[in-house]
């Protein structure tokens, strides 16, 4: 026993090493956060002025009032500094075209750069919140951009996806929850969805 004890740290290290080895290469963005199933946190944020939208403060209540009643909605976290946000943008636009209520959260960005991004890429969002300091981001457990949240009409966070949102992820993680929560039919014409995918 006396001879085994000093070897214990080594044995523990080897076990940890195996865990690490098996964890390498897994998509780190899959780490779920424990906010799914909880209520969307309250916040006080300014919105981003863009074209006909003026900058004004929003709280959770104010946001919900401004969105279509009884419908689930999407919060999409993005930033002009985030390369994948450019990649994901066409699909976000497709969702918007399909009539999904989209809230953008411009994350740790600058107002002018955020506006430049939308000018270049188009604005799919009904409301664009600005989270310059990442305060709502922290409450939500945002690990980076892009990240997307599906929120029920009652304000419950139904699903979260970290990383680029595309049709496959939507079908797998969001589509059923969307329908179960009174979301209207999306992508009814199969061709339209494929077309949008092609555009990416």
């Amino acid at each position: 026993m006396k001879k085994i004890m000093p070897l214990m740290p080594f044995i523990i290290f080897i076990l940890l090493g195996i865990v690490f080895y098996l964890s390498i290469g897994r998509d780190p963005t899959l780490v779920a956060n424990n906010l799914v199933g909880k209520d969307f946190p309250d916040f006080q944020l300014e919105s981003l002025a863009f074209e006909d939208q003026e900058s004004r403060p929003y709280s959770l209540q104010g946001l919900q009032r401004a969105l279509p009643e009884g419908q689930p909605w999407i919060l999409n976290v993005w930033g002009s500094w985030c390369p994948q946000c450019y990649v994901e943008h066409p699909f976000i636009t497709a969702l918007s075209d399909a009539g999904v209520a989209l809230v953008g959260m411009n994350y740790k960005d600058e107002t002018a750069k955020g506006q430049g991004f939308l000018k270049k890429m188009g604005n799919p969002y009904q409301i664009i919140l600005q989270d310059m300091e990442g305060s709502l981001g922290l409450d939500l457990g945002v690990s980076g951009a892009p990240e997307t949240y599906l929120v029920s009409p009652q304000g419950e966070i139904l699903a979260r996806h970290a990383g680029v949102l595309d049709k496959a992820v939507w079908d797998q993680k969001f589509a059923k929850l969307w329908q179960d929560n009174n979301g209207h039919q999306l992508f009814s014409r199969q061709s339209e969805a494929t077309e949008e995918q092609g555009a990416e």
Binding site: P6, I14, P28, V31, N34, Q44, W81, T111, E133
Partner: protein, 653 residues
Amino acid sequence: MLAEIAQILLLVTAVILGTFSAISLASFGGIIPSLQGVTRQMLRPAAYGQWFLMMTSFVILISLFIGHDYSISYVASNSNSMLPWYYQISAVWGGHEGSLLLWVTILATWYALVVRFSETLPEELLCLVAGVLAGVQTGFLAFILVTSDPFASLPLPTPMDGNDLNPLLQDIGLILHPPLLYMGYVGMSVAFAFAIAGLIHGGIGSAWARWTRPWTLYAWAFLTVGIALGSWWAYYELGWGGWWFWDPVENASLMPWLAATGLIHSLAVTDKRGVLKAWTLFLAILAFSLSLLGTFLVRSGVLTSVHAFAADPSRGIFILGLLGVVIGGSLLLFGFRAHLVESKVGIRLASRETGLLVNNILLCTATFIILMGTLYPLFEEMMGLTQSSVGAPYFNAMFTPLSLAMLALLAVGPRLNWKRHEGKAALKMLSIALIAGAVIGAAVWFMTGWHLMMIVTFILVAAVVWSIGTDIRHQIRNASSMLAGLSRLKPHYWGMHIAHTGLAVMVIGVVCVSYLSTEEDMLMTVGESYSVGDYQVTLEAVNDIHGPNYRSSQGVVTFELNGQSTTLKPEKRFYIAREAIMTEVAMDVGLFGDLYVALGDARNDTQWTVRVHDKPMIRWVWGGALLIAFGGVWASFDRRYRANKELKQGAAA
């Protein structure tokens, strides 16, 4: 051109250090003793040469940034011609590749300093220490050259401008934070190298501990300041009153700190009494291993966090292999040789040694708890459960009782004598303290109605301060005057008490912030008063102000407490040209607390939403941390660690 030179310099350094490390470990490790002469000759040229080469390549990277050389991939993706010059320099360590180069450059510096300032060390031990450092350095240079070359160029055509530095990192706190933290992380390599050299060479005892102590104290002080700076940054940059979030990256810096704190205490025992050697060696290996984990694992994509840089599996595998060799190898060496170093001297139950042993156990437990909490998502994933991250509630629940136990130990431990303490006297002292504490605590609870946890902590802090005071009085009891007595006390003694006082200060801050903070969002009518915590808060007026390029609504908010009043003026600015609204928070920063006011939106002409934070004693958290670090540095000035000419014989024997 410059970039290619730097690449060659890195390669040359890796080859020199690899060779030196191999012959040093082989010759003094007893495999090829004939190479000892060569090792001795190479020792100094290799140490200073590698420092020169590493500094040169680091300066080259800085100059590439300042020269806007966007043909270099790393520069192009982390800088921009519009970036102010100071951010162009800090952008050097803004990404994975550059922060690795900073890491090895700092290691090169520690390595050169150790060789330069260890004339009194027996040369064979110094050769081994240098050999270990060179080996670690070689490994990470290889990592840079194979997977993370900051000097790699982009295919033509060269981009017109760079991608810009992540805006998150454009901040003064983040210019200083990584270098300080790295000084701490990397500095642990010195204690680690001493531990490995000691395990190979033998002769671990008082002299060995005395050589290791100052290096460990410096690194530990850097780590302390680095962590405190990170916490302060999170507080003012994120701006809603938190100072510690139990984020994986924060945990990754706290773990080596806890292990290193154990190490400096354990080193004291090995120095003074020549026992707990295996503990000391283990903690030295642990502190450096956790530093490596802190710097690299978090960046390999195994653990994600807001701070994590890149997720690249090939890097992950390389890092894991490297960590396997460095940490696994040293733990294996420890496993087989640790029982050889421990002296047969036992320690008595009532003694300073026992107190410090318990301290080691408590700190290791704390480290283990954080390690498990941080890695929990990985375990859960392995078992096929749904992933969830373990949040602050877990850490707070586990950490609070440990902290209380440590405080209690701190009140008693330093008062215990080395070797043996008169058991009865200790028991008597303890029971008086317990009864007095309980009585005072009950009285305070009855009068203030504070949270019980707060009162218990305050009593313990009071006991710690009282114990420090009595100890100093006891030490100077025979001096002719108080001043004469105080001036005769040694730096390592002062250092200990300064650092412990720092901890007491920090605990007061933590407890007050945790239990007495107020955060409220209110709808306020102009002219009316509201009570927030102990304050009477009044929104006196909201004035329209015209700035150079903005219009602003400026709130005038007064805080009244016991007849003293403070006025803060938060603003809501509308920048005309950019059509943007910015919230200017007003803060009153004070020794006994911060007040924070932000003006929300107007409901009508007289009603405004206002966010008010009252953070009592928050500055004490960082002030305490600085005191702790200062204590460590002060202790290292002790002549005990300098005048060891005579010890050279002691170690050789």
